[in-house]
Symmetry: C4
Subunit: 277 residues, 4 copies
Amino acid sequence: MKHQPRALWRDKLYEVIFEADTRAGQWFDIGLLIAILISVSVVCLETVEDLDRVYGRWFYHAEWTLTVLFTIEYVLRVVCVRRPLGYALSFYGIVDLLSFLPTYISGFGFGRVGSFAVIRSFRLLRVFRVLKLIHLTSESEDLASAVWRARGKIVVFLAVVFITVTIAGTSMYEVERLHNPNDTQFTSIPQSIYWAIVTMTTVGYGDIVPQTTLGKMLSALLILVGYSLIIVPTGFVSAEAVNIRRKQDTLTQTCPYCLVEGHQTDAVFCRVCGRPL
Amino acid sequence: MKHQPRALWRDKLYEVIFEADTRAGQWFDIGLLIAILISVSVVCLETVEDLDRVYGRWFYHAEWTLTVLFTIEYVLRVVCVRRPLGYALSFYGIVDLLSFLPTYISGFGFGRVGSFAVIRSFRLLRVFRVLKLIHLTSESEDLASAVWRARGKIVVFLAVVFITVTIAGTSMYEVERLHNPNDTQFTSIPQSIYWAIVTMTTVGYGDIVPQTTLGKMLSALLILVGYSLIIVPTGFVSAEAVNIRRKQDTLTQTCPYCLVEGHQTDAVFCRVCGRPL
Amino acid sequence: MKHQPRALWRDKLYEVIFEADTRAGQWFDIGLLIAILISVSVVCLETVEDLDRVYGRWFYHAEWTLTVLFTIEYVLRVVCVRRPLGYALSFYGIVDLLSFLPTYISGFGFGRVGSFAVIRSFRLLRVFRVLKLIHLTSESEDLASAVWRARGKIVVFLAVVFITVTIAGTSMYEVERLHNPNDTQFTSIPQSIYWAIVTMTTVGYGDIVPQTTLGKMLSALLILVGYSLIIVPTGFVSAEAVNIRRKQDTLTQTCPYCLVEGHQTDAVFCRVCGRPL
Amino acid sequence: MKHQPRALWRDKLYEVIFEADTRAGQWFDIGLLIAILISVSVVCLETVEDLDRVYGRWFYHAEWTLTVLFTIEYVLRVVCVRRPLGYALSFYGIVDLLSFLPTYISGFGFGRVGSFAVIRSFRLLRVFRVLKLIHLTSESEDLASAVWRARGKIVVFLAVVFITVTIAGTSMYEVERLHNPNDTQFTSIPQSIYWAIVTMTTVGYGDIVPQTTLGKMLSALLILVGYSLIIVPTGFVSAEAVNIRRKQDTLTQTCPYCLVEGHQTDAVFCRVCGRPL
């Protein structure tokens, strides 16, 4: 990136807001996370009627204070970033904007904005910036890497699950209808597929449950099949995790004479030819 | 396979319908998958009363259009394949036939055919052909291979589960009956075995639940035993997955003399011909 | 074992009944397994009122036929075994005896014997003899071995679970009582511990459910803690399974010259010193 | 630690109460564990009304006997330990004190002390001292070590779960409210987050369940996402367990010259001093 002459305060501001290398930048990140946690908590607790009746005024004030703070933060981000439009159209830029805009809209009498709390909670993703401060970046990279390497298998697995729940759902619909035409639980095939998903993942709410004997037998069979299916991706994520773990342990040194790899971290001499590493 | 002189258009057609190496063949597979997805969706959504009342006519037309298309596809498959009877009697051949035949039967007034939607959903298995196009074949082979290698253990495990749920079910039946003769939940041993399967796989619907104190104690014990049992196959599928993963890692070196693959990472000499690698 | 002179027919009988090496012995095992499966099915289905009303007579006859057959089998076992008392007092000996005795007792008017079906179902354990015939012995030994090697960890784990559910159960009892003195679900601490076991193993029947806000918060916390606890033994059974798998792969050959172990199964020359194996 | 002249009986007492190396110390630990188990059982069973009505007097006597014993034990601990205040302010010191104090308070008419049973059950943690006696210390260290090494990943994972359940809970609240304003289940966002935790961990009580079609679709999606998320830490605990297991396997060879342990199985020369093994 070519360095262009800019106001020094903007560079400073950029460092504080967008980076976490300086002390000020770290404090900014922690402060922002606390503000986000409070704002999400307020939005959540407002929906509890008992609390809203008593603390409603406090929630209202906290709401507006945080909204003003988030507005200032957004303006500062736009000002100090090199390409304001790039930021404004990025995922975080849109989430940042939508986290305070609805308050103004509903505040100025344009009515409640529905999916407000949902967008606010997306800001929680900034938690991952703070993880960096407590040296957990490599951990989260390992987790992401294990899931990423197993992505192909997860796609195949989801295809298998998709087909299985469709077949299971349609079968149960037919079976339950056959013996019990006035069934009130397996009312349609999509409903039965919902049952199949809830059952095969072992969630088992119990809101939809087979009533007929044949339905129960089929259900028991599906549970066992479903259970067997669902352990497979666990195995593959384990395999990737084992692999990542092993690489960290062994991929360190190679003997310069006989090219044997995988020496332990405290090795001084090659374990095969005996010459110094 | 000996090459016999055949009409060129039949070879072309065969290539498009049964193979996925050519561009046309790939488009055919994708088009067929979309048609199957639509047909399964229509069959499913038809059973939702609210939707059927409003969009019933659209479903009717989509149904007949797809039925005609599937009929044409079936005829073309029979025509271009080398051994028509072999195809017609294969699993896919029967599923293909049964996916459009019931529409004609019920359309010409012979009454609704029950297990119709179930057979349609079996056609979804063609998804695996499309996985090939997006280079996920090796992934699905790995998954299938891990399950296949662990098949012996899965059979043993299912035998253990079968015995455990039978003993658990009969025990609970006796215990619940003993203290509560008018029990309405553990009404029979098969019902209790159904309860044991639902419980030991941690699905836990809650439609059948122990009422007596002794029943609850026995149930708690069974849950812990069941849970311990059920983690065992997970471990063995993991082991197979780790093994497959390791093989992929070690399958790197090839002997330049005898071309044997899969030498261990610290190998100095070829394990088959003894010459240096 | 010193060979003593015995009647030849007793040796023959012993071979057929207790061993599975001869053709006759295999057929005997399979026949016995089928008889056991039928007897367990009959005992189970008898408890279904609808079936008992219709097929009650058939069940009665099947019951008595199988009882007579099991009596003959038991007598033959006692006769041909070298130490009859040793067999009669062994686990299988007692189970064999108790599988037919209750029928006579209730048949001669001494009233129904309660835990009858339970004992019958224990005979299903003979399934493992038949697994030997289809070459699954090594599989079941691997499974048993993985569980056995992890037994120490399972004991520790069960201690942790025991302590956790006790603390969790008593906490929930206090919390739910505090806010809701007329609570009808967390009526006593043992009941709360039952809830904790059902919850932490993710069975989640839903028959006992927190009602107060504080109870729900505590419950959510317990679920996450419980879930984290319960994945640990899965990991250790996986580790044992991986270990067993690796040993089978590598523990085959050792180089007689440089003593390097772990050669692949098709190795002809040592991979380190290059001399023939 | 500098040795100070002390009464011999205090050293003896210290050895018996705080250590498990002598025979007397082992018997003391086992006796204490039994006393704790009885006291926890009594506190639990007292809350069962039916039992309390019949055995109330026995519970009362057992309660006071154990309380006196625990008081004596506490006094002896304080007397024989080198730094009494250090013990009194330690976790176990506080738990020991609080395990008998509430009985006196409520016994002398100051009213029932609520969280009494909870504190008692914390004393069960002394079970781990007894595990030492049956040689399971290394097992529990392995378990603790696997969890400890995976702690970073567990923190990251809990952050992911925390964000996911917040987004999921708020989404479901909005969706269910939108189509069903008089919803009695998703009454507030915290309630919805509770639902999300119960669902994503596959507990699935079924006390809160989506009613609308869109809610069910979103719910099915969340179950699949949640399930995929939750298998990840299982994989990483498995990886740590595999790693611990492998270390135990390789820690066999010791160099006869420099006594370094843990050489790989195919090592010919010591990796630290270079001399042949």
